[in-house]
């Protein structure tokens, strides 16, 4: 579809004779039409990507890959590529394909600055890049290690809880004994209360009976005394008093004799 559009645009431009004027804008029109197609927004393959090589390709003098030297080695030996380079440079210079002008000096200067910069700071920059990557990996590893540590702590705590559960039986036994003792004590207290209450009731009854007998006894004595006192006539009273006086006299006589 987009190519068809480009084709029609191109044809229309040709027909309208705008070809020469829009020569410079041809690229722009092409690019504008192509942006209607979606670009890659995801990786094309969902399989795991192969690992990146550890180091970049070997390069000699910072420019020429080592494979070039290996390529020429069988035919021309070690000095082959160097001879090729020298010959090429001399050819360019002698035929004035490359003209030495003021730019050569400027080129020498900027190249020396670049080479100095790379030689001096190259390893530092590489170490910095490695450090950035290391920090990234270390952060992820730290997360993983912390998760592992947390899980291990959780496992230990769980084991401690299980140990505590084993000891739970003793706790329950002790509590059960405790409660049994309390119940026993309570029962005995109640028993004692019952005994005391019953005894109080019985004592009451006994006391009642004793009181009744006492009262009966007192009453009887009182009645007997009353009757006896009533039965004593005045005649008897005089006789008894005279007898008592005679007795006392006799006693006093015997007493005086004793003293």
């Amino acid at each position: 579809m987009p190519t068809a559009l480009i084709g029609t645009v191109f044809e229309s431009h040709l027909r309208l004779g705008f070809f020469k004027k829009l020569n410079g804008n041809f690229l722009i029109i092409c690019s504008v039409l192509h942006t209607s197609r979606p670009l890659h927004t995801t990786q094309q393959c969902l399989a795991p990507l192969p690992p990146l090589p550890e180091k970049g390709g070997e390069v000699r003098y910072g420019l020429i890959p080592e494979e070039f030297f290996q390529f020429l080695y069988p035919k021309t030996g070690v000095t082959g590529p160097y001879m090729l380079g020298t010959g090429l440079v001399l050819y360019l210079l002698s035929k004035e394909i490359y003209v030495i002008n003021h730019e050569t000096v400027a080129a020498a200067c900027i190249l020396s600055v670049i080479i100095y910069g790379v030689k001096k700071y190259g390893s530092d920059v590489a170490a910095f890049a490695d450090k950035l990557n290391e920090e990234k990996v270390a952060k992820a590893l730290a997360v993983k290690n912390e998760a592992i540590k947390d899980l291990e702590t959780a496992i230990e705590r769980e084991k401690k809880e299980q140990w505590r559960v084993e000891g739970r039986n003793y706790l329950f036994d002790a509590k059960r004994n405790n409660i049994a003792m309390l119940l026993e004590t309570n029962y005995r207290e109640r028993l004692l209360t019952v005994y005391n209450e019953v005894k109080k009731r019985l004592d009451y009854q006994v006391a009642m009976q004793n009181l009744k007998r006492q009262k009966e006894q007192d009453h009887m004595i009182h009645w007997v005394e009353k009757n006896v006192v009533q039965s004593i006539t005045p005649q008897q009273q005089k006789e008894s008093i005279a007898k008592c006086i005679l007795d006392l006299k006799a006693l006093s006589k015997s007493a005086q004799a004793a003293v």
Binding site: G24, L27, Q43, L49, L52, G56, V99, I100, N101, H102, E103, T104, V105, A106, A107, C109, I110, S112, V113, V125, A126, F128, A129, D130, L132, N133, K136, V137
Partner: protein, 227 residues
């Protein structure tokens, strides 16, 4: 081929085909696209780190609305930096030595900041035309001065970049011509000139990086005032 001093500033053509677009877009080829590997190689790591540093550096003074400009400012920085540094190589064409390109970058971006400010907060934007604490009699003159200063900003941005790079390149050409011319006559003076050229090259590397940074920094400052 024989070069005059200004051939390096001529827009490049090859067999009648203009190469200007190619020379402007070529720096994009030098940056590998970040793929979705987690651990990348050293070049991609450094590239990502430097892009993050540049974006952080530019976006820290801006409020949240200004973060919309992150992509354009970061890519502008990278483009200018790469173009400037690549221009120091011999026989290369530096697009940023063309006033047309620099004005085409500076003018629309400056105008965008100005219009953003005038649209969203017109009184604050216009308030920038009068610095705080000016004595009352000076106000009319100062407003005119500030307006002139405001309107000259795009011109300044473009011309600053053009002039710095053009002057640097020209100086390199001139001193290297002096070196080449003196070499058969007075070799010692030629060596002295070479050392001057060496120092100048180091300066030009610095200038290339600083000018790119200054361009984008000034744009972000104009943005800060207006967003």
């Amino acid at each position: 081929m024989n070069l005059s001093f200004f051939d390096q500033f001529a827009s490049p053509y090859f067999l009648g085909i203009p190469l200007i677009l190619l020379s402007m877009l070529f720096p994009a080829l030098l940056f590998p696209t970040p793929n979705n590997r987690w651990i990348t190689n050293r070049l991609s790591t450094i590239q990502l780190w430097s892009l993050h540093s540049i974006t952080k550096q530019l976006m820290t003074p801006l409020n949240k609305k200004g973060h919309k400009w992150a992509l354009i400012l970061t890519s502008l920085t990278t483009l200018l930096l790469t173009i400037n540094l690549l221009g120091l190589l011999p026989y290369t064409f530096t697009p940023t030595t063309q006033l047309s390109m620099n004005m085409a970058l500076a003018f629309p971006l400056w105008l965008a900041t100005l219009l953003t400010g005038l649209r969203n907060q017109p009184s604050i934007s216009l308030g920038h035309l009068l610095p705080e604490g000016t004595p009352t009699p000076l106000i009319p003159a100062l407003i005119m001065i500030e307006t002139t200063s405001l309107l000259i900003r795009p011109l300044a941005l473009g011309v600053r970049l053009t002039a710095n790079l053009t002057a640097g390149h020209l100086l390199i050409q001139l001193i290297s011509t002096a070196t080449t011319a003196l070499l058969p006559i007075m070799p010692t003076v030629s060596i002295l000139t070479t050392s001057i050229l060496f120092l100048l090259t180091i300066l030009e590397v610095a200038v290339a990086m600083i000018q790119a940074y200054v361009f984008v920094l000034l744009l972000s400052l104009y943005l800060q005032e207006n967003i």
